[in-house]
Symmetry: C2
Subunit: 526 residues, 2 copies
């Protein structure tokens, strides 16, 4: 017979007791996050890959001890390691121990004031304050939330979204059957439809699937096109046509799905040229041979938006299907002033959107929108234990056709809470701020004689480099800043060579942050 | 120029200010979780799909308002809706409003005592206390944490894991490049290897990939087998051979990967019969035609474990590759007494494991283990902005070949924290408790003249039904309990027809819970 539950009481996150078990552990997490951010004092832990790995190993090993350390020690050590794998110091935290999962042994927390003092002290010790404007550190110097962390489409998440995500973890509904997610399933339906209506405002029954990101959305888009052709009785394999500016996941999805490699059209201007697309489509055998054109609204390298309307016209003319990867650019739809840049988006049969980019969600928060729910029919799937015919006939909703995953976390909760908390205008305002900051960064770069600007940003991506720097020099500047933990810049190659890439996603970015970033690059140029 | 940050201050989860922004929001989430669990008073909201959907719509609409409601109102409303979409009541919570994301307008929280009083009151009002043992409610009656929620391999997550997952949301490192996840990448490497060593203790370089679950792990296993054959120059398509007891995701993965449908061997005994497998393999053309055999360690329907050693011997004899889907059974490895049931697991080339089943993690927490990291080579992938050759040569770790996803949440953090907090023995103890509870449930059912037991549980799954009940009657009992929100039982079909399925995953399950569950089924039988 089972051992009395008392020995493991307060172990679970759910139920009425769950919040009581969670509260002290969350305090430990918040403390570890605060001290980790303070210790780091910049966007990235310094020292480069080997030094960081060595420090993580020193703290994290043994990963699987025979006997556990208790919840608080484990939480504090590993959460802090994730935010700053610095030296383990003597002090109150180093002494945190506990063999139970209860909260009794938790020591008192350092005050926020003490943490901020520690942060200022450590930053001074690391000797990089001259380039950090006073006050920036205390205003949010930590990883993706640091305004100098601009390498990727990797956003600092909103507190409200992270808080909502805790409920997803604690409740753990799984979206593969109604009896595991009675309310979450309905909330997902409502939220996906509301977002699909943003893309397809004039359609009676648009829908969207929640995905792990643009990559999975692109996979699903290719799969749906492959299966639509198959359902229509076409035996010729689906041909994919995309620009060289398309995301790498389009090529990887073709490989996964056992489709021929995409026909890739050069994009020297950064966008898919309709004339070249026309030529390519004209050379293909035409119907019934199925063709899927992939356009991009916000490329990874430059943030450029392909000419969507003209591409959609060409797809109509050549009877090709259109997929638009709007993983980056899609959230411009929230803004009344910026949404016009996506004119033509509603003509796609499938659209990838990512709210963990310009949507400030913790990963994962991807979507695949379709103009009509019938487009999703090829994903229908039956598993007797999840959606038996008699259960479906008796009114139990069938969720299995809404993903290729089975167990599925309700990523929609944080999205739904964010949409409700900020509203469309609130999100649109954040999108506008990020785009305005990028324009301002471009202005600053343009004004510096030692820096070249690639082009005005189409969304919030700014490419630049030290004047005359060759690719090796550009790459070296980027790696030096990474190793020092002072700025996280990306890289992008155009026909003009290699550039530094700043993808501005932080809506709090200030002029002083941008000036400091420019100064960091200038100061790191040999 | 960007708008002053003051207007959106304390919006982000990261940085030194992040914890200060998160704390009051987390209080709101905890309160909503507590009141939601109390309001529900059982494992599922009552009323069935239509009623639940109607209540969710009433609370959640409009999903995307033009102007937001503020963080606390959104968090409270939607988190509560997810845990119990009951009627919205007048009272302090109904009045929660706020147009800012700040915490000023948050009202004082109800005490836990008040919540428990409310819970008892509402349970009485719903009129189902006679079958609920006194005290069960207060001991954790909520969704997956309710001992009567046993339909699926859907576990109640540990508080320590949910708390760690908050840090993943707040920090938001993304595991597609080193500069987005310098410490998380190393922590993942260490943790994946430690778990792979559990499966392959005698191999020098075992490894594992983090996946969204067993479904993705099975997909990857089939993909790796397809590509291994391709790399070896074989043009014949990979043939997959599995039992009828294999998970539906094996068939779905074959479809996704454009492989022939699996050859499915009947499994009337619940496990893959080596004699039948031998016959099937002998009829296939043999090398160089590639064959992948899929065995299961813990089937979804009955929890049965295929005879792994004999299947591995047959794979050796017929030069077939072996994949073992141990999504359910794999965590028996944590237990010194139960791990012997998995003898032969180390002979698989690929192994699926899920720690969001017998591992008490919030989804997603899947793994694909391999005996040697070289097995993962086909996933290598290049994207200049994430893993350019010169960056890799300069020592920046290349993370892109560790998943088919690009942006990737560090699900490994909650796993690493749990392993460290509980240790192998702590997790083994939880696994043993769940298995012991299932044995006890089987004893109870065996002792009741009105119930039939299918078989002794192999892991923690118990199939049973009212004596003599036909499939329609069994299905009706299950749906009645779901509709009433009193118990969440699964279903499984064997050659003897349809059964009710109880998958015991809650390590807190008590004898009184099991007795009450049996009584609920007896009371719902016409």
């Amino acid at each position: 017979m089972p051992v009395p539950a008392s020995a493991t009481a307060r172990l679970l996150a759910g139920g009425i007791e769950g919040p009581r078990a969670l509260r002290p552990m969350l305090d430990t997490v918040l403390d570890a996050l605060a001290t980790g951010a303070a210790d780091r004092g910049g966007p990235l832990p310094p020292g480069g890959p080997r030094a960081v790995a060595r420090r993580v190993r020193a703290v994290a090993e043994p990963v699987l001890p025979t006997v556990g350390t208790g919840a608080h020690q484990a939480l504090h050590t590993l959460v802090r390691a994730l935010s700053d794998p610095g030296e383990v110091e003597a002090g109150p935290h180093a002494a945190w121990h506990g063999t139970s999962l209860r909260c009794r042994s938790r020591p008192s927390r350092p005050t926020t004031r003490a943490i901020l003092r520690l942060a200022m002290h450590r930053t001074r010790r690391r000797g990089n304050p001259p380039l950090l404007p006073r006050g920036r550190l205390a205003a949010g110097a930590a990883g993706a939330a640091d305004p100098h962390c601009t390498a990727h489409l990797h956003c600092p998440p909103l507190a409200v979204a992270a808080a909502a995500d805790l409920a997803a973890s604690a409740l753990n509904p799984s979206l593969d059957s109604w009896d595991q997610a009675p309310a979450a399933g309905e909330l997902e339906t409502l939220t996906c439809r509301a977002l699909a209506r943003l893309v397809h405002p004039h359609r009676p029954d648009p829908d969207a699937l929640a995905t792990t990101g643009g990559t999975e959305a692109n996979q699903l888009a290719l799969l749906l096109a492959r299966e639509a052709a198959r359902t229509a009785g076409v035996t010729a394999p689906l041909r994919i046509v995309c620009g060289a500016n398309a995301h790498h996941s389009v090529h990887r999805a073709a490989w996964l799905l056992n489709l021929p490699a995409p026909l890739t059209i050069p994009t020297p201007s950064g966008v898919l040229d309709p004339a070249r697309l026309h030529d390519t489509l004209a050379e293909l055998p035409g119907p019934p041979h199925p063709v899927l054109v992939v356009a991009t609204a916000g490329t990874t390298d430059t943030g450029a938006i392909d000419p969507l309307t003209r591409i959609a016209d060409l797809c109509d003319r050549h009877a090709a299907t259109l997929h638009i990867d709007a993983a980056y650019g899609g959230p411009l739809l929230f803004s009344d002033t910026l949404r016009t840049r996506l004119h033509g988006l509603d003509r796609a049969r499938t659209t990838a959107l990512d709210l963990h980019k310009l949507g400030w969600q913790p990963a994962a928060a991807g979507l695949l929108a379709v103009p009509d729910s019938a487009v999703l029919a090829p994903l229908a799937h039956r598993a007797d234990y999840l959606n038996a015919h008699d259960d479906t006939a008796a009114g139990l909703p069938d969720l299995l056709g809404r993903s290729l995953r089975t167990t599925r976390r309700p990523d929609i909760l944080k999205i739904a809470v964010t949409l409700r908390a900020l509203g469309r205008r609130g999100l649109g305002d954040l999108v506008e701020r990020a785009c305005a900051a990028a324009q301002h960064l471009a202005d600053l770069i343009d004004s510096r004689p030692g820096l070249d600007l690639y082009a005005r940003p189409a969304i919030s991506t700014v490419l630049f480099r030290p004047t005359g720097a060759d690719p090796a020099a550009v790459a070296a500047v980027r790696r030096r800043l990474l190793r020092e933990g002072r700025a996280v810049l990306g890289r992008a190659t155009t026909c003009e060579g290699l550039w530094l890439k700043a993808t501005v996603l932080n809506p709090h970015t200030q002029t002083s942050d941008l000036r400091a970033l420019v100064a960091l690059v200038e100061g790191s140029t040999p």
